[in-house]
């Protein structure tokens, strides 16, 4: 069975003077056509690095040190920069957190959209402009003809993010990687942008990898979810199942720590301590010093990533019982 995107045992390291630092430590997941997946975790868990690794855009001193990113049968991690440029921004687009940093402040948004198209298609400028106009309409920008000639500073934050989405869509990509697309926005604007993104992905059958720290946003938009902790995926599966019945103690802690799940005024369930920095990840399971279920084995052995819950999800925890037919691995 082949998927649109298959990430296999991906490993990303950063070469530092003191030695290599492992930011992503062997993660695997896949995405089918039109599927929406959430990648959640706290700061420093490696979510953004994963996003960049997919489009092979890890900047020095970082590098992909192992594993494969197979997209339509081709391993992106092994592609030349030239071949990668054909795919990046064309078949796989990326949306970043801060639209003001993403857009070029000295070019009109029309220029920026047309530029993207001309870089990837052999079409005329007039054709490119027509496509840009169509995409601006798609993201519900009022009076798009006029807006094409305007500069980013003439738009509000929410409108800018719509334009970034329009630019990401302009080449009809198969996958959009959205890294915290609404974190910089207000909650009413966030709701609108997430609605828009979901609706566009559905109508164009575009795959979405939504990278965010906000479990609530992920639970509303995605079908699948992967929870990251200290450079690894600790739990993945169908969003509904993971959110309503988390198996990994970290996922459980994260969901219980949300204020919305309790009686107002009650003490929140906190996870003690904090995520280890990449330089001193504890031996065994990286979560063991904060884990309420920790036993001796957790401090010695790294837990395998195994299917549980009748194969509907994968969990990396010694304390979670594997499916009986799996035996011991």
């Amino acid at each position: 069975m082949s998927h649109l995107l298959e990430v296999n045992d991906l490993e990303v390291k950063f070469g530092l003077r003191q030695g290599d630092l492992t930011a992503i430590n062997g993660i695997s997941f896949n995405l089918d056509k039109g599927e929406r997946m959430g990648l959640v975790g706290e700061s420093g868990a490696g979510k953004s690095v994963t996003g960049f690794a997919i489009i092979n855009l890890i900047s020095k001193p970082g590098f992909i040190s192992g594993g494969r990113v197979v997209f339509n049968g081709r391993d992106l991690a092994a592609l030349s920069e030239e071949a990668m440029r054909e795919i990046r921004g064309n078949q796989i687009s990326m949306i970043f957190q801060d639209p003001m940093m993403t857009l070029n402040p000295v070019l009109t948004i029309g220029t920026q959209m047309v530029e993207t198209l001309l870089a990837h298609r052999s079409i005329t400028r007039a054709e490119a402009e027509a496509i840009s106009l169509k995409k601006l309409k798609k993201v519900q920008i009022p009076s798009p003809e006029k807006r094409l000639a305007q500069y980013p500073h003439e738009f509000s934050g929410g409108m800018r993010q719509r334009i970034v989405i329009a630019i990401a869509l302009v080449t009809d990509p198969e996958i959009i990687v959205a890294d915290e697309p609404t974190t910089a926005l207000d909650v009413t604007i966030q709701a609108e942008i997430m609605d828009l993104l979901q609706q566009l992905c559905e109508s164009e059958d575009t795959g979405l990898i939504l990278i965010t720290h906000d479990l609530a946003v992920v639970s509303q938009v995605t079908e699948k979810i992967a929870v990251m902790y200290a450079g690894k995926i600790v739990e993945s599966g169908l969003t509904d199942r993971v959110v309503n019945d988390p198996k990994h103690p970290y996922t459980q802690g994260l969901i219980k720590a949300l204020p919305g799940s309790l009686q107002p005024g009650a003490r929140l369930n906190q996870i003690p301590g904090m995520m280890p920095t990449l330089t001193d990840i504890p031996p065994g399971c990286a979560f063991n010093p904060r884990c309420p279920l920790c036993e001796a084995i957790c401090r010695d052995q790294e837990p395998p990533f195994i299917p549980v819950d009748h194969m509907t999800r994968m969990v990396a925890c010694h304390m979670v019982k594997p499916d009986p037919n799996m035996g011991t691995r």
Partner: protein, 347 residues
């Protein structure tokens, strides 16, 4: 306790803290040359002001957690700073236990400063990187009690540090040696050092991860239970607000739209803006249930809309809303709403 206990002051119907018709505008017109404009054959000198807070009134009762919510640019942080006298209001009154504090000079403010402290959003920016934790924490105590002995200060620092969950052994370290959550604990310790009664917390958990956010919120709730603190909590995170607040004020474009007990507000929001705001909160595991979409965008606080500031985006707006500014009125059990539609019974 090594610091002096605050003298009991009279508390009246004004509660602990009361704001009356507070207005704060900022003049952003710049120098003379920036202000001059040529219009209809005349040179005119035009000032530009940002109307950040307009006619806001409310009372905070002792021991409660009063939250102010709203989107970026609605004036909630300005309101927090004006309340503490960091910005002088343009007009209106601020009363602390019935005493006006908005017209006091720095010297006269000193006794009030000890009772009113602030916690800021970004613990990376609010702690002086060149001071050790000890120096940061002892400064307010020594400033307000010049006669206090060095030993007493040390004890006090150690006591408060352990209360906020930072090992007192780390007092000689610098802020960069701590994580974001630890730093926020230190900022909370700094506010607690002088035994305040009232703390204004401006987005205290917004910069923190979920698991750390829960730790800090628990700490704030514990401190409140132990010390009988009163909080004014400024935030845009509505699920945090629902969890910790006793009453909530909703602001839009510098104006108070609605003020209700937290439970009432989240169960049955009255103001159309509050309804839109609450419907936009993403809820865990609940699929989208159609949020109220607002038309248009937030206008600029430089040119406020006439009448109700929300009328341009409100689906219930009628001609009266465009002309007349709605007054904040109590509608029923402690709910205050500034909306013509609610007043007229249309909503």
């Amino acid at each position: 306790m090594t610091t002096e206990q605050p003298k009991p002051m009279k508390s009246d119907e004004n509660g602990l803290l009361a704001l009356k018709q507070v207005v704060k505008h900022f003049d952003i017109s710049g120098g003379l040359l920036d202000r001059l404009r040529f219009e209809k054959g005349k040179i005119i000198n035009q000032r530009t002001t940002v109307k950040a807070v307009n006619n806001v009134s409310f009372t905070i009762a002792p021991g409660e957690t009063f939250s102010v919510v709203g989107e970026s640019g609605c004036g909630k942080s300005t309101l927090a700073r004006t309340t503490l006298g960091i910005y002088p209001p343009n007009s209106g009154e601020i009363l602390y236990r019935g005493t006006r504090i908005d017209n006091k000079n720095a010297q006269q403010m000193l006794p009030f400063r000890r009772k009113m402290q602030m916690i800021f959003q970004d613990p990376y920016a609010s702690l002086n990187p060149r001071k050790t934790v000890m120096q940061t924490l002892e400064e307010p105590v020594v400033f307000h009690n010049p006669s206090i002995s060095a030993v007493q200060v040390k004890d006090r620092v150690a006591e408060v540090m352990s209360q906020v969950g930072v090992d007192p052994k780390w007092a000689s370290r610098y802020p960069h040696e701590f994580s974001g959550g630890q730093r926020q604990r230190i900022s909370i310790a700094r506010a607690l050092m002088v035994d305040p009664e009232f703390i204004v917390a401006d987005e205290p958990v917004s910069a923190l991860d979920v698991s750390i956010q829960a730790q800090i919120l628990n700490l704030l709730m514990d401190a409140q239970a132990q010390r009988g603190l009163t909080y004014m909590f400024i935030t845009h995170d509505l699920s945090v607000v629902e969890h910790i607040s006793s009453r909530v004020a909703v602001m839009y474009l510098g104006t108070l739209c609605e003020l209700s007990p937290a439970k009432t507000l989240f169960d049955s929001p009255r103001h159309p803006y509050t309804q839109a705001l609450l419907s936009a909160i993403p809820k865990l595991g609940r699929k989208k249930s159609g949020h109220v979409k607002l038309k248009g965008e937030v206008p600029t606080p430089i040119n406020l809309p006439s009448g109700c500031v929300f009328h341009g985006r409100c689906i219930y707006a009628n001609p009266r809303c465009i002309e007349e500014i709605p007054e904040a009125r109590s509608v029923e059990n402690k709910v205050i709403v500034a909306c013509h539609a609610v007043e007229e019974g249309r909503l």
